[in-house]
């Protein structure tokens, strides 16, 4: 186990990519300890921040976990845009963030590696990263996190159609009104989880919501609408999720 939080070097990133390639097909693959520790692959971030693995299951847990590390580092701004840091963080918590397929026993790495190595400049993909995605959503709603549970209440280790649709632009990601609507519609306070049947293109589902919001964005200044105002503007197909 590595002792302090690090960031990958160029060689480390290359080795991590090789690991991802292998892990997709090899049930016996695991993150080599040397990848996380050796000087050739990793270097400590400022602040000598002790490394502790992520705990919890929700994206909110992941966001708070990283937020604490960045706070301790004292160089939040530079680490926020440091792909090698985010990649190392995922690698160091890989078992927790990447489940294995029950049939093949291989990591469900997929072919889109932006889940593991962030594409922070690519607005279509940057929200996908398993740690930076939740973190930036959390920071955008720091003063009212409960309002963003629609995007922070889901599992940290799985694909999420709701996230994919709602977080695909900064305007949507940071809009209080939109996050209010997503949370009111799709997050159950009773079960403290995302409601069933939210994903997909069905009536009132997340894809429909993204389409409707994109339409509204052509007509309204979404930033000037309150959450309840926006919720009232939605068509009747979303009523089944309002309760």
């Amino acid at each position: 186990m590595t002792k302090v939080v690090c960031r990958f070097t160029g060689a480390g990133i290359a080795s991590f990519r090789q690991f991802l390639e292998t892990a997709r097909l090899d049930a016996g693959a695991s993150i080599p300890g040397a990848l996380l520790r050796d000087k050739a692959n990793a270097e400590p971030i400022p602040g000598a921040v002790p490394f502790l693995p992520v705990t919890g299951t929700r994206r909110l847990d992941a966001a708070k976990y990283v937020d604490d590390i960045l706070e301790r580092s004292g160089v939040r701004a530079s680490l926020e845009t440091d792909c090698e840091f985010w990649a190392w963080m995922v690698a160091a918590n890989f078992d927790h963030l990447c489940p294995k397929d029950v049939k093949t026993h291989c990591y469900r790495v997929g072919t889109d590696w932006s889940y593991w190595i962030p594409e922070l400049r690519n607005y279509r993909r940057r929200h996908r990263h398993r740690l930076s995605g939740p973190y930036f959503a959390y920071r955008a709603h720091l003063d009212d996190v409960q309002n963003a549970m629609g995007v922070l209440g889901s599992r940290m280790n799985g694909y999420n159609d709701l996230i994919e649709r709602v977080l695909s632009t900064e305007e949507f990601q940071t809009s209080r009104a939109i996050n209010y609507v997503v949370t009111k519609l799709y997050f159950s306070n009773k079960s403290n989880a995302i409601k069933a049947g939210v994903g997909g293109a069905g009536k009132g589902g997340s894809r429909r919501l993204a389409d409707v919001l994109a339409q509204f964005a052509l007509t309204y200044d979404l930033g000037a609408l309150t959450g309840p105002q926006l919720l009232d503007m939605l068509p009747g197909e979303f009523d089944r999720f309002r309760s």
């Binding site: 160029g10 530079s78 792909c83 190595i117 594409e119 940071t174």
Partner: protein, 248 residues
């Protein structure tokens, strides 16, 4: 070029009306100097700027339209750098009217201290691409050519005959296809979007106009092919590649 139809009443605010300067101060700050007189917005309508990028969206209320000249400087402490920041400008009716958009400018690349204000048709960025040598990514202001950080020749490789002959023409083909697929400007707008700029380039190369509203058919594919062939001729792609082989 066939244009998408704007069914709403909002007006498109042109880039020439927007003076926006980002300053690399601590914290980051911006100066806005807008001339909105020509759009006929109500005097009491409110002008809002949103600086977005880095998973942030910072709203700044610039004030009422008044006589059309709007100026304000503001700090943007939520943004850690000017890197990748773009600006959206909105004009909405004064409260308590519902916030329908009266005017909108999207994806405005601000002028930044010490940088050229003009955005290149195809900005180049060095990125970590694994074993990929290059790729084109589409961001809100337009396409960006990413080149692998590990390429020994660096961005100088982009000017070599190999790249021109084997990749640059494919870059052009990909972007023209994407531009046609995404469609052009809204009706009544000046030609400002990246799609329009690229389609204009394609029209110059192919020697004929191209109509598209998001549907890409065989005629469009022929137009793209002709544009690429003209580009290859202009660059003497085969000749220079052969010359390079002969010399090496």
């Amino acid at each position: 070029m066939i244009r998408r139809i704007n069914h709403t009443a909002r007006k498109r605010i042109e880039r020439r009306s927007l003076g926006i300067q980002l300053h690399r101060t601590t914290p980051l700050s911006a100066s806005f100097s807008l001339d909105l007189a020509e759009y006929g917005f109500p005097r009491d309508a409110v002008v809002i700027a949103e600086a977005y990028g880095q998973s942030r969206n910072v709203r700044v209320t610039l004030g009422a339209v008044g006589d059309g000249l709007v100026a304000l400087s503001a700090e943007l402490p939520q943004l850690s750098s000017s890197d990748g920041i773009h600006i959206r400008v909105k004009v909405i009716p004064a409260y308590p009217s519902e916030p329908r958009l009266l005017g909108l400018a999207e994806g405005v690349a601000p002028d930044t201290d010490g940088e050229s204000p003009a955005r290149s048709l195809l900005p180049v960025r060095v990125s970590d691409l694994g074993e990929l040598v290059w790729r084109v990514v589409y961001e809100e202001p337009g396409p960006v050519l990413e080149v692998n950080r590990g390429l020994l020749a660096g961005t100088a490789y982009l000017r070599q005959a190999h790249f021109v002959a084997l990749a640059q023409i494919e870059v052009l083909r990909q972007i023209l296809f994407e531009a046609l697929w995404r469609g052009g400007e809204e009706e009544g707008a000046e030609s400002e979007s990246w799609q329009t700029r690229w389609i204009k380039l394609g029209e110059t190369l192919a020697g004929r106009a191209c109509d598209s509203d998001g549907d890409v058919n065989d005629e469009h594919r022929d137009w793209i092919r002709d544009a690429c062939e003209a580009f290859a001729r202009k660059r003497e792609a085969l000749t220079k590649l052969n010359l390079m082989e002969t010399e090496s």
